[in-house]
Amino acid sequence: MTCRLHSQTLSAWAFLVPALLLMAVFFFLPILAAFLLSFTDFDIYALGDLDRLRFVGLSNYLQLLQSPLFWTALGNTFYFVIVGGPLSVVISLGAALLVNAPLTRFPGFFRTAFFLPVVTTLVAVAVVWRYLYHPRYGLLNYGLSLIGVDPIDWLGDPDWAMPAIILMAVWKNFGFNMIIFIAGLQNIPMQLYEAARIDGAGAWRQFRYITLPLLGPTFLFVALMTMIGYFQVFAEPYVMTQGGPANRTLSIVLLMYEEGFRWWNMGYASAAAFVLFVLILAGTMLQLKLRRREPS
């Protein structure tokens, strides 16, 4: 008996080892290295000659917390997460309900169409959206001019740049969450709706008392993944605005990238990465806690 268990464990390990090895080499090791790096002043000098590397303790973290640029980036990132996250979840839920509705014709077509932006290269998307946002020739401003709104310099105006980025990001990403919501919706037994209809529940009450509660786990998953993804926003501002105008779209990851790969302050950039990690962890814990407190 024990012998069989042992051989089972062995074969389990044999199957796991390749994956674990890959994860160790490409995932845990770099994380550990980055963590150690965050206590050094690894920079261009150290890259040339390791004798010029110093252990600086927590000084990177302290410097980070004192840097106004970091707080700007943090504020922008929160703006993006708090406005963009819920917006994205709500829109994907709405799209999922529409696509999943029995009255919708060609659901397969719409599912594909809504999912298309997710698999499109962001750079290609950004080129198109830059045209849409063009203050003079852009479609968006043309539409606004028809209802008498003055043109908006979407990407050049410090107050409009972030909403513009959020709009694009939500459009780009909602398809993924929509697919997950559709899967969740299709797991809800039809009998429940039937029973509710017999009890005289209208569309809203069916949604409120059957769809939403039964979507709970899906909702949690979507909300968590969206939050984690949105905290790491990088590509959208990187290709659309490079963090401008006046640093109003500078996100934490973009700041990290600039510090790390533009100025090669690897130590400082690693510190920023771990601060972001702690933030995401805290956000995740908070969501899980809130969800648990809710009566199921």
Partner: protein
């Protein structure tokens, strides 16, 4: 190995279909490896020089290479084209990953950084084979940016500096026949242009997120940007402060609009409309202006070397004297003291020594071949040819006698300007410092910060950036 058996057996047909390609792949890869390793010792294979060049240069330089390969049949060149926006990161990553090309292009302000990295091979030994006239043929100020600690690390490929692009018709409308040689003269022109009728008008466009003009003005004022062997910021020094205030006054007086690069949607259209009459820019805009300006303003613009603080002895190009004092006196806030009327001859009309250079990787095993390519690209004929291809101004003065350059009326001002160029501090941290200068200048222009506050903050930031450098100097680990 009896895989032949499989082919003879119909039942195993499907099996062979899978097996055969795999076996073939396996065997042929072994053959390939044998062939590659075996051929390494062969003498007759040409040396392949890997050459990284950026943007348009990377594209156009290919046209010069067939002739090079004809002259050196034992050398082949492989050009890798890298977009400018990613070039700096790509070179650093290549260095970190030990994948440097043999020869590469780099912005000349990056040289101190790559010297600190010990990524480039000094060229002094090889330059000894050159006649001294060839070395002194380079613009002195430009060559200086390639020299550091008594060594020459790279050779200029093409040059770049900033000067005035201006509308000749607007200058004439304001009553001036030609560009003056002093700021004093330009201020009079600009305040007059501002009052010309027409649409909302400014005199000069200075994108607020650029550090170049404040730095140029400071260099003209004779400011040392950093102090104590480039260990501390020196931005609160009266010289820099004076230049900074002068720069800010251009916005306060409404001569320059407080807009950033990205806010100026169509620079060429606005220049054609006369929204501004003067623009500070570099040689790349000669081609752009020629291509993009509408026909109506063709021939109505010109380039001029930057004005200096001192009136030179030749006053031939000065504005008509009658206009100078009476109608439009310079507003008192402009000039900030003795600006433009200084009696010392500090750095008259100086501008920045920009451009791109070519350097050889320290770890390259093909340095001799790379040097041959570098020498070839440095020849005046190739430099002139490269100008024809790209519009990049040659670093060798001999190349400027080529008809392609002499027939372009916009290049002469650059030739003058290039005699008066100065380098930014030759330290790896400069790009970051310049970035901070641009940041605080923008805050001060947008009046989100007082000028002096901004300078204090700038010094504080720069001192922090230079902390590592101070430590290295202290330790004797020469940066």
């Amino acid at each position: 190995m009896d895989f032949k058996v499989f082919t003879q057996n119909r039942a195993d047909y499907r099996y062979t279909m899978h097996m055969f390609p795999m076996l073939r792949l396996f065997l042929s890869s072994i053959l390939l490896i044998l062939w590659l390793t075996g051929c390494d010792s062969a003498i007759d294979r040409p040396v392949v020089v890997e050459f990284w060049a950026m943007g348009q240069e990377g594209e156009q330089v290919k046209a010069l290479l067939p002739e090079f390969e004809r002259r050196y049949p034992d050398i082949r060149v492989q050009v890798q084209q890298i977009p400018w926006s990613a070039a700096h990161e790509k070179l650093l990553t290549a260095y970190a990953g030990d994948a440097m090309p043999d020869l590469f292009q780099l912005g000349n302000t990056w040289i101190p950084e790559f010297v600190a990295l010990r990524a480039i091979e000094p060229l002094d030994e090889r330059l000894k084979t050159w006649p001294s006239a060839a070395v002194s043929d380079y613009f002195t100020g430009i060559l200086a940016t390639n020299q550091l600690g008594n060594q020459t690390w790279a050779l200029p490929w093409y040059v770049d500096t900033r000067l005035f692009f201006y509308r000749t018709d607007l200058l004439a409308a304001a009553g001036f026949s030609g560009p003056p040689a002093t700021w004093d003269g330009w201020l009079q022109i600009m305040s007059r242009i501002k009052t010309l009728d027409g649409a909302q008008r400014y005199a000069i466009l200075l994108p607020v997120n650029e550090w170049q003009l404040p730095v140029i003005l400071a260099l003209q004022r004779g400011a040392a940007l950093l102090r104590d062997r480039n260990q501390y910021g020196n931005f609160q020094h009266p010289h820099f402060r004076e230049a900074f205030l002068f720069y800010l006054s251009l916005f306060k007086e409404g001569l320059a609009p407080p807009v950033s690069n990205s806010q100026m949607i169509n620079l060429y259209q606005e220049f054609a409309n006369g929204t501004f009459a003067v623009y500070v820019s570099g040689p790349w805009n000669i081609g752009e202006f020629e291509r993009r300006l509408p026909a109506a303003v063709k021939g109505k613009w010109m380039t001029a070397a930057l004005p200096g603080r001192v009136v030179p002895s030749t006053r031939s190009s000065l504005p008509s004297q009658g206009r100078r004092d009476s109608a439009n006196p310079v507003p008192p806030s402009l000039g900030g003291g003795d600006w433009g009327t200084g009696d010392d001859d500090l750095a008259a009309g100086v501008s920045l020594a920009g451009g791109a250079s070519l350097a050889i990787s320290r770890t390259s095993p093909r340095q001799d071949a790379a040097w041959k390519l570098l020498e070839y690209l440095a020849q005046p004929e190739q430099q002139a040819q490269f100008y024809r291809l790209t519009g990049d101004l040659p670093a060798r003065q001999a190349a400027w006698n080529d008809s392609a350059l002499t027939s372009n009326r916009y290049t002469e001002a650059f030739r003058q300007q290039l005699q008066h160029v100065q380098a930014t501090p030759p330290i790896p941290e400069w790009e970051r410092i310049a970035n901070r200068i641009a940041y605080y200048t923008e805050l001060a222009v947008r009046q989100e910060m007082q000028a002096d506050e901004a300078l204090v903050a700038l010094d504080r930031d720069v001192d922090r950036i230079l902390e590592k450098r101070r430590w290295l100097l202290e330790q004797g680990l020469a940066p």
